[in-house]
Symmetry: C2
């Protein structure tokens, strides 16, 4: 899950300690194994995150794939590396057939990490370092975890790129496999693993790989492990994500900057045009003004409404933390059932020392849509272009020449982003969905939260639509994991709890 | 006159040669003197423009002031250096009392030049170089003008910073003085000279100097020599300039960039807010949407309308040259009777490799107004702020703190620029105005063009309002003089014609 913004929510308290239903055999097995093998588990994860894994460097991701292949074979998985073409990052596919199992579950995660150019890394991104807590908190210090006596503190954190996003989910699943084996507990389903190597690059080949391996990947359920947990620290399951579509827009003024005293009431102003164009697309409350934009939007079902209402309230502390007055009175999670039009950037003219009293030559803006189920990137492109044309814009795909400029007062260069993704949403009442929540609930003390869909978009959409399978999202990383930023980290308590969650999903899922 | 944009209008032909009314004594005297002293005139101007004159360097402008003082004393002027305070650039004030003259005329020009950091100077900016024509035209070459036989070609150009903007007007006036003296023609009015040394810095002390020297500067007419001629090459007189007022605006979103998938329909978007704010101020046709903004605007008088109608049409070739469809069907000069709201810049978010699918933290815009007579910067500030407040904006003068952010959905940090200028317009039918046109007409073959007001703004407004005198603007520089850019230049034919114009103004002005 590509998450560029992070939240640091000081006013919400992380659920600490280990909430559990002591009687569950999967949890008992997972806890027993983990307590006896904490350092072994940390050692494996630590070794894994010590491998540089920025997907732009193919040699690095190949080394990760080789390590991952070895980690899977050790656990008895049959492994294949799936590539769209030579020289592109491999998807590490693992398969474990379970005699007698009637269902198959495919687990998705990615082993590549975000670029590491951020300033402020307290230790090198590929030198895994365990600290006593969250950097910036009082008294936080490095921990010599190999030498420390007794069990690791659950509030310790492992700092490294990709530790949370999302190699930890791979490690949690593999540790759960080890725990089940040691306790002689058999997985309840056939297991397939889809571990992607270029998610942080935007998953450019995921649709190709899925299409080329549809039979191999065939599954009854997809479990998506990417992303952080709910801000409350409670275990949450989600059932979908919004679609994505971006575009860059440029509008044109005079060929040269013109003195606005001489020409300001006579020459067209690209600054004003881009502002009015954007104002014609969206209002301050987030409502999209393109006609028929909401026609295809499906409102939440009664079950989804009930799930939304059961979510802990986070709006007031979030608004305080962000320093904002929200633009809608509703719940944050409710907003994911509506499409979003976000304006990423607007740029025109110079400010500061280079500011000129001039009519600028052009203005640019960058926008992106988040789409809800029922909408497709193709439909949204058509609706948007039709509306802009009706507003008098001549839409072009390349910069206009002089004749075009002289013949048209309003010219819009509109370039849609190459990547887009479909919205996906699994019915919260589907048997596989309900079974997943029930399995996880067995290792949780508090009720599992159900988020009908997340607001972000994901390359997983291509897997879900390509395989035509239901999907549940199960995240285990702490919400304040600094994913995509400097000092990415995973809290050890979250890893331990995650092993419980995976042990239950692997051995107790049944529908 | 601060002109940041230039026009290069290949489709309009410069009036070449010397249109003249052969019988005029001032013109006869000017031509005779100039023909006999071309190299002496060029020598003086060349020496003057060889002095670096960027006003940010006080030693440089002081050296210019000293040279100018000497040039004036040689012609019999009483000279004083007027400064707002020690260490600021001096206004070189010259005075020549003419026995029996009943009127006094104050000539304004500036001797400082624009900064010279532009790329593309064909010769160093303070190494005056004469070339055979306009750089870029075919066959243009350097001219060894001191050694060349016969008279200088009128299409030769002197290249140097401040050659056109506007030391040439000073040289033209002084050469005209020399010519009149040689022909024993007496000035018809008392002459005062106001030669400013910091116009290109925005004339920060001009109001102070005028206020402190009101009696010394007292005059019946101000002749403003700054700026280029009409694009047609015909001699033009203008009678005013628009006022100026600028502002920077910042609106606020969350304290940190937020992932727009998670928060795009819930957190306020500063990109959308700044776009809607700008769209609420102006439409695409240039109409300002602030209520009552046009109440104080004075429409052109019948005489002004007649003068506007007599201007040569420039709109079609200009639109072609700029590659635009104009936003109004009217004449360019008509638009100067309306106020302009220009958006200099809008900036929010990142584009290109740093683009993020994020809700940005803030958005900024920079705007400026051009005001017509009847409007004042103070009134426009009040109208604008009142309107924005009515639109729900909380207007602040410094960045908001957390409590302000949490209590107000729409916060606008509004900083008005320090400098502003009043609009000024002399009645085109005022006796001094009509007399000025009549005097110039005596040395012109074609009718002198009358532009009721220019679209730009000028520090001269402070002189006009401070002295409460009528003003005429008489420019002599070629329109394609590259003022404010690299390779600034003055065409020699324009200097020769300018000497004629000044000779007539000095000796034949009478009302």
């Amino acid at each position: 899950m590509r998450v560029r913004g992070l939240i640091f929510l000081a006013t919400l308290v992380l659920a600490t300690g280990s909430a559990f239903a002591a009687s569950d055999p999967a949890k008992a097995a997972a806890d027993a194994w983990r307590q006896a093998h904490e350092r072994q588990i940390l050692d494996e994860l630590s070794g894994f995150v010590s491998l540089p894994d920025v997907a732009a460097n193919i040699a690095d991701v190949d080394a990760n794939a080789a390590r991952l292949e070895e980690m899977l074979r050790t656990r008895g998985f049959a492994v294949r590396l799936l590539r769209a073409s030579p020289g592109t990052p491999a998807t590490v596919f693992g398969e474990l057939k379970v005699p007698g199992a009637k269902r198959t579950v495919l687990y998705y995660a990615h082993y590549d990490g975000q670029p590491v150019g951020q300033r402020g890394w307290a230790s090198p991104p590929f030198t895994p370092t365990i600290r006593s807590g969250r950097l910036g908190a009082e008294g936080v210090h490095d921990v010599d975890w190999r030498a420390a006596p007794g069990p690791a503190n659950t509030d310790w954190r492992l700092y490294a790129r990709a530790a949370a996003d999302d190699k930890v989910t791979i490690e949690a699943l593999l540790a759960a496999m080890d725990a089940l084996k040691a306790a002689d507990l058999k997985p309840s389903v056939n297991i397939k693993l889809y571990y992607e190597g270029e998610e942080e690059q935007g998953s450019p080949h995921i649709a190709t790989i899925v299409a080329a391996n549809r039979d191999l990947l065939k599954t009854d359920l997809i479990v998506m492990g990417d992303g952080p947990m709910h801000q409350s620290g409670r275990q949450m399951v989600n059932f979908g994500s919004r679609g994505y579509l971006g575009a860059r827009m440029t509008v044109f003024g005079p060929l040269r900057p013109l003195h606005d005293g001489h020409y300001g009431s006579w020459a067209p102003s690209p600054a004003v045009e881009i502002a009015r164009l954007i104002a014609s697309l969206r209002d301050d409350s987030g409502h999209i003004l393109i006609p028929h934009f909401y026609d295809a939007v499906r409102p939440p079902t009664p079950a989804e409404k009930a799930a939304l209402a059961a979510l802990p309230s986070v709006e007031e502390p979030l608004a305080h933390d962000f320093g904002i007055v929200p633009i809608t009175r509703g719940r944050l999670a409710d907003s994911y059932f509506r499409p979003t039009l976000n304006v990423r950037a607007i740029h025109v003219g110079d400010e500061g020392p280079n500011a000129a009293n001039a009519v600028a030559t052009q203005a640019s803006a960058s926008i992106d849509f988040r789409l809800t189920p029922g909408e497709t990137p193709g439909d949204v492109k058509a609706l948007t272009e039709h509306y802009l044309a009706s507003q008098g814009w001549l839409i072009v795909n390349f910069p206009p020449n002089l004749a075009t400029r002289l013949a048209n007062p309003k010219i819009l260069l509109l370039i849609w982003d190459e990547g887009s993704s479909m919205p996906v949403r699994t019915d919260i009442e589907a048997p596989a969905a309900k079974a997943s929540v029930a399995a996880i609930q067995r290792v949780e003390r508090e009720p599992v939260l159900e988020l009908p869909m997340v607001g972000a978009s994901s390359g997983i959409a291509a897997v879900v639509t390509g395989l035509n399978a239901p999907m549940v999202g199960v995240s285990i990383a702490n919400y304040d994991d600094n994913q995509h930023a400097e000092n990415e980290n995973i809290r050890l308590g979250n890893l331990w709890d995650g092993i419980d969650v995976y042990a239950a999903l692997l051995s107790e899922l049944d529908w």
